[in-house]
């Protein structure tokens, strides 16, 4: 079903989302991918603060292409989430409410999603031009030297995503594929 979600949000809003829901997100989200996660992880290990408070926030696994003049951002689709699996559980334990990416997650991430009543969304991979149209504003807030991998604060309006893993642990990648499987692919 179609839903509208304003972010940041608490666990009550997240618990209403179900695997398979088509969700339009409006509000503020943060980008971080491989290199930014590694730095945040190292910062935490040294007892330092993160560049933004993850509590009740969403991280979008994305590194955009450069913006043309007068535009907030370039192409801006999701990258493969599993490369962030090593880092995601500690962020979820700190109150991160959602992740937007594409592709499978590890068992440890799935458990952390359920334990912390969070959600994992997929944005459509390879639709970076379309998705950029829902991003109104983009600002680098940390790790600027990482270029495309810097942490950005994004203002989004009706940013389209699909709930893959919900707070109850339902996983669309498993259920939907089973529904349409016609043969034994070995």
């Amino acid at each position: 079903m179609n839903r509208y979600l304003t972010v940041p949000c608490d666990e009550k809003a997240v618990e209403e989302l179900h695997s398979g829901d088509y969700v339009y997100i409006t509000g503020t989200i943060y980008t971080a991918r491989d290199a930014a996660h590694k730095r945040m992880y190292e910062a935490l290990a040294q007892g330092e603060k993160l560049p933004f408070d993850v509590k009740n926030n969403m991280i979008y696994y994305m590194g955009p292409s450069p913006a043309r003049e007068g535009r907030p951002i370039g192409s801006a689709g999701p990258t493969t989430s599993s490369r962030m699996d090593k880092y995601a559980p500690s962020l979820l334990n700190m109150g991160l409410k959602g992740m937007i990416g594409k592709g499978k997650r590890s068992d440890a991430v799935k458990r952390a999603i359920v334990d912390n009543k969070a959600v994992y969304f997929a944005a459509v991979g390879g639709a970076g031009a379309l998705l950029s149209k829902s991003i109104i504003k983009s600002e680098v807030i940390a790790y600027e030297d990482l270029g495309t991998e810097a942490i950005r604060r994004l203002e989004v309006r009706n940013f389209p995503v699909i709930v893959v893993i919900d707070a109850q642990g339902n996983n669309l990648y498993e259920t939907a594929v089973e529904e349409y499987r016609e043969g034994e692919i070995k």
């Binding site: 192409s75 594409k102 970076g128 990648y173 349409y180």
Partner: protein, 285 residues
């Protein structure tokens, strides 16, 4: 010098590579566009259909507004088929290709995704170097193929060193295994490039080149073409679907290239590409 020698200047190579990097990242070839159209009509899952429609909107926005189709504008893979009667003037060919990539990624607002060292990972900031494959062929022309390759799908690609006794069933299983393991990570609907035969590195290059063959063209060798059709059917029965969110469109094509191999081996490479299967072809003459 023989009178048949054709001179091609590196400036021309730089200019063409630059334009091709930009073109490939904003426009798909007609065969890819019509394969996506067809898939949108036949997809059984409503969500899958919705995702395929989004991909079509995405292509329209990319070309109209000059926004790269995908933010991962790839590592530039370049195939050069150089006629042996061509003489290149103006500097080193490899440097010309890299200069074209440098200019294309800079001027085209394309993402710079290349790191200088695989361990220390400092960005080269101009997307060079390209990965370049040279072939010497007959004639006095140069065929350029620029195929920017995204790494969501590249990471799901595999090489299998099968035994001769594994035969054709072994090859099919290798392809299906790679596709199944790739699942949603490779941004389906995918194009599956397969190389069979040669050596360890040859089969991988065959697979990469197979991705640039137009969809629907089919292999020349009848049994290979049959295998392509059978594998495409089976992959689309896997249920993976658009975006990996279930459906009847998991791949748009399976392209297989073969090559003679050693009595002791059966190398198979499966190079998976997402639906943004970019390539641009030009002939310099």
């Amino acid at each position: 010098m023989d009178g048949k020698m054709k001179v091609i200047h590196t400036e021309e190579i730089i200019k063409n590579i630059k334009e091709m990097c930009i073109e490939a990242n904003h426009y798909l070839t007609d065969d890819m566009v019509s394969a996506l159209n067809k898939a949108t009509d036949t997809e059984k899952s409503p969500l899958g259909k919705q995702i395929l429609c989004q991909l079509q909107d995405n292509l329209r926005i990319a070309s109209e507004d000059m926004i790269p189709i995908c933010q991962d504008t790839g590592m530039a893979v370049v195939f050069l088929e150089i006629g042996q009667d061509v003489h290149i003037e103006g500097g080193l060919l490899t440097e010309a290709v890299n200069e074209g990539v440098r200019q294309g990624y800079q001027e085209g607002y394309l993402r710079k995704s290349v790191v200088k060292d695989p361990i220390f990972r400092e960005n080269t900031k101009d997307n060079t170097p390209a990965v370049i494959h040279y072939d010497i062929v007959e004639g006095d022309k140069i065929k350029l193929i620029v195929a920017p390759k995204g790494f969501g799908s590249e990471n799901m690609s595999r090489v299998f060193m099968l035994k001769p006794a594994d035969g054709i069933e072994g090859v099919k299983n290798a392809v299906l295994t790679a596709v199944r393991d790739a699942g949603p990570n490779a941004c389906p609907p995918m194009v599956v490039g397969v190389g069979v035969g040669g050596t360890f590195e040859k089969c991988a290059i065959l697979a990469k080149k197979a991705l640039t063959r137009p969809i629907g063209e089919g292999a020349q060798i009848p049994y290979v073409r049959e295998m392509e059709e059978e594998l495409l059917r089976k992959i689309n029965q896997s249920g993976i679907g658009p975006g990996g969110l279930g459906g009847s469109t998991t791949a748009l094509a399976v392209n297989i290239n073969t090559y003679p191999t050693h009595i002791a081996g059966l190398p198979v490479a499966v190079n998976i590409c997402c639906h943004v299967n970019r390539h641009c072809v030009r002939m310099l003459e």
